[in-house]
């Protein structure tokens, strides 16, 4: 155990900091769930890609830096420290990208990865369906093979970023006689295909952060099949999924939020008559740090050839509940002002983005597998409790 960064890691941090300081937009970008904000965030992806900072863990041939997970953590720390914009192509770069690298053909990699890295193609995800939410194996949306094409019919829902995105990836039932997790395949579909209808769904903040997607005889070439036909479930659940889970929410995001929380507490704490506030602030700070330590531990294990442990199954519950507590505490510190939605720079300076973060935090325990499902998984697969 050696909890000191190497010279090379420190140099890497310095390099990242220098670049971010020079390039992070000084003005807050509008939300990427508006047309204007989406394009502004796409532009930011292009800037990142030009500097080769788009996805530092990717191999250099795909515009990455071949960084290991420790370096990724360092980059993320600097990224959030710099107050850089959220990643509009998160579905692509964190979820689809690694899967393409593992299962894609050389032609598929060449077709999709550079455009993803450059921000030219932004991805939405299409897992859930009206009757396949927590029970994802109940997917019904069909993709029937027809020569060199698949013909897709059905519906996806809760597709994050689908309103303005260019492409969607998801699981489709390619074997009509199959059931549950058999006969599913992973397909990549352009959202401007004929027969695709995207119906925006307004989120709690009133912006269309996700959408329903209707597929009506949508034809995509068989080239867009990722992995083998019928292997969709296995690919979705593959080992790489653990790493993606690890990277879904980087600890720096919460540590930076807690730094702001402590500042808010220093400014407002004495005006708040709430004996619980002190311990809530302390708890948030400890939990964010615990999450960082756990991630460093996992990253170290993976870097030294080890395998991921029980913490992978626990992390979603931990960070999503922590995120709620951080934002609830900030709302308490703002008191009755907490309901005010900041409109101007002056109001942002006064109130921060806590309200928006608070609303978004409500979704954390729900998306990517509700925390109730996560608890079942921990109980059955980590603790070994009986399924029935």
């Amino acid at each position: 155990m050696d909890l000191v960064y190497t010279q090379a890691q420190q140099t890497f941090r310095a390099e990242a900091r220098k670049w971010l300081t020079a390039h992070v937009p000084s003005e807050r970008l509008p939300s990427f769930d508006t047309a204007e904000g989406f394009e502004a965030h796409r532009q930011w992806e292009r800037t990142l890609a030009k500097g080769n900072w788009g996805m530092v863990t990717w191999p250099t041939e795909f515009g990455g830096r071949g960084c290991n997970l420790i370096e990724w953590l360092i980059f993320e720390e600097e990224y959030y420290r710099a107050g850089a914009p959220l990643r509009v192509n998160q579905n692509g770069i964190f979820l689809l990208g690694p899967t393409l690298m593992e299962y894609g053909t050389p032609e598929q990699k060449a077709r999709f990865i550079p455009a993803m890295a450059s921000g030219d193609e932004i991805w939405a995800q299409g897992w859930s369906e009206p009757n396949a939410g927590s029970d994802m194996a109940a997917i019904r949306c069909r993709a029937d093979r027809d020569g060199d094409e698949f013909v897709i019919n059905g519906q996806k829902i809760w597709s994050t970023r689908a309103v303005y995105a260019d492409w969607v990836f998801g699981l489709f039932r390619t074997d009509p006689d199959s059931s549950r997790h058999h006969g599913l395949s992973k397909l990549l579909v352009p959202l401007n295909s004929e027969g695709v209808t995207v119906r925006p769904i307004e989120q709690l903040n009133g912006l269309p952060g996700f959408a329903e997607i209707f597929f009506d005889d949508v034809r995509v070439p068989a080239f867009n099949l990722l992995g083998g036909e019928g292997e969709g479930w296995r690919i979705a659940m593959a080992t790489a999924g653990f790493e993606r889970g690890l990277m879904l929410r980087s600890p720096a995001r919460f540590q930076q939020a807690c730094k702001r929380l402590v500042q808010l507490y220093r400014e407002n704490g004495s005006d708040v008559i709430n004996p619980q506030i002190e311990s809530a602030v302390v708890r948030c700070y400890m939990d964010a740090e615990a999450y960082a330590l756990s991630t460093y531990q996992t990253a170290s294990k993976l870097c030294s050839g080890g395998t991921i442990g029980a913490e992978a199954s626990c992390n979603k519950i931990f960070w999503s509940e922590m995120d709620l507590l951080i934002h609830e505490t900030a709302m308490d510190l703002l008191g009755a002002r907490a309901e005010i939605e900041p409109q101007t720079a002056a109001e942002f300076a006064e109130l921060g983005a806590w309200l928006d973060g608070f609303m978004f935090a409500q979704s954390g325990p729900i998306y990517a597998g509700t925390n109730e499902i996560q608890r079942n998984i921990i109980a059955e697969r980590v603790l070994g409790m009986p399924r029935k």
Partner: protein, 365 residues
């Protein structure tokens, strides 16, 4: 940057943990309760032969010269079986204090003799600290390290007067002690004494944190077994989500307490004077996990969980005690709170491992 244990460290933990699991069972713990001294002498000499007593003593003083991160997993393993004998405290807290005193050229005529006796397995030293009202297993100690004000005193058993206090945990044997703080038994004083007391408090809190993690695991294991075996409505009660979720919540807290405890162990090892934050975090997180484990695991045992017969009590009661010994949650959270309010506090994601992470940036301006 490498936040992993070495294969040697993991193998040693495996070996000790399996020895502990076969030697320290609920039955042998209960048989200790029936004895006068409450300790298993045969087991203690076995532990000594394994070298635990000298593990953290520098080689120059005749020890094995290992570090806190080498022992922390063993401390956790001791917690997992709810070991009654205060081995963790002895190895991690009182012996290092003796070594610190000796190292700094302090002490009196007795100190070398006491250290040698500990290394030889002939002597036991108990520790009194102002933060704790009692000393555990004081009756089986030969020497005492006790404090009064900033002073630390090395006192033989004969010069100590004891008053037994009954702990809720039958495995703990508490005594309040008093002694005459005379000059000739004082081994440290003033700033030095205060600093040693502070690092002792950190080691004590860390020792408890590691054991609390182990205790939580022990409670979880028993509860998984019980809820798998026990049937109601024609199926295992552990198949019910309400039961699963109680235990899953504990598992999450334990998973996220572990790296915090390991970071604290590392910090106490390399930078004992700057370990307050790391240790307080560890103690607070581990205590929270263990108290939740006690509550939830009692709950899933149903009425059995409220009986003397149920072995779970060996673990839950220890957790109740260790969670509050060496500083309770309020004490440790308050230390973190004070730190968060300091103007020079290093806050933010780039400081997870302190200033060490940005040395070069500062050099670069």
């Amino acid at each position: 940057m490498n936040f992993t244990f070495t294969q040697d460290q993991l193998d040693f933990q495996d070996a000790i943990a399996s020895m502990l699991r076969s030697e320290v069972t609920a039955d042998t713990v209960r048989s200790r309760w029936a004895t006068t001294a409450g300790v298993d002498e045969r087991f203690l000499s076995q532990v000594h032969e394994l070298g635990l007593n000298s593990m953290l003593v520098p080689e120059a003083l005749g020890g094995l010269g290992l570090g806190v991160t080498d022992f922390i997993l063993l401390a956790e393993a001791c917690g997992e079986v709810a070991l009654p004998e205060p081995i963790v405290e002895s190895v991690m807290v009182s012996t290092p204090l003796l070594v610190d005193i000796l190292d700094q050229g302090l002490g009196n005529a007795d100190i070398q003799k006491v250290v040698d006796g500990v290394l030889a397995g002939d002597l036991r030293v108990s520790l009194g600290h102002a933060i704790n009202p009692c000393i555990n297993y004081a009756d089986s100690a030969d020497w005492f390290l006790v404090s009064e004000g900033d002073g630390i005193y090395l006192v033989p058993k004969e010069a100590i007067s004891f008053k037994a206090r009954k702990s809720v945990d039958p495995s703990r044997r508490l005594f309040s002690v008093s002694f005459d703080p005379r000059d000739h038994v004082r081994v440290a004083d003033g700033d030095v004494g205060a600093r040693l007391q502070r690092s002792t408090l950190n080691r004590g809190a860390l020792a408890n944190a590691a054991q609390l993690v182990g205790l939580s695991r022990g409670m979880l294991d028993q509860s998984v077994r019980y809820t798998t075996d026990r049937e109601q409505f024609g199926r295992a009660i552990g198949a019910n989500q309400a039961v699963k979720h109680l235990l899953a919540d504990v598992a999450v807290q334990v998973e996220y307490a572990k790296p915090v405890v390991y970071r604290a162990a590392y910090t106490v090892g390399v930078s004992p004077n700057r370990a307050d934050f790391a240790v307080s975090h560890a103690k607070s997180a581990a205590a929270r996990a263990a108290l939740m484990a006690s509550r939830h695991c009692t709950q899933v045992h149903g009425a059995m969980g409220y009986t003397w017969e149920c072995d779970l009590q060996i673990w839950t009661k220890r957790a109740w005690a260790l969670a509050r010994e060496w500083g309770d949650e309020g004490f440790h959270n308050n230390r973190i709170h004070e730190w968060l309010l300091r103007k020079d506090a290093l806050l933010g994601p780039e400081f997870t491992f302190g200033r060490g992470s940005i040395t070069d940036l500062e050099k670069a301006g």
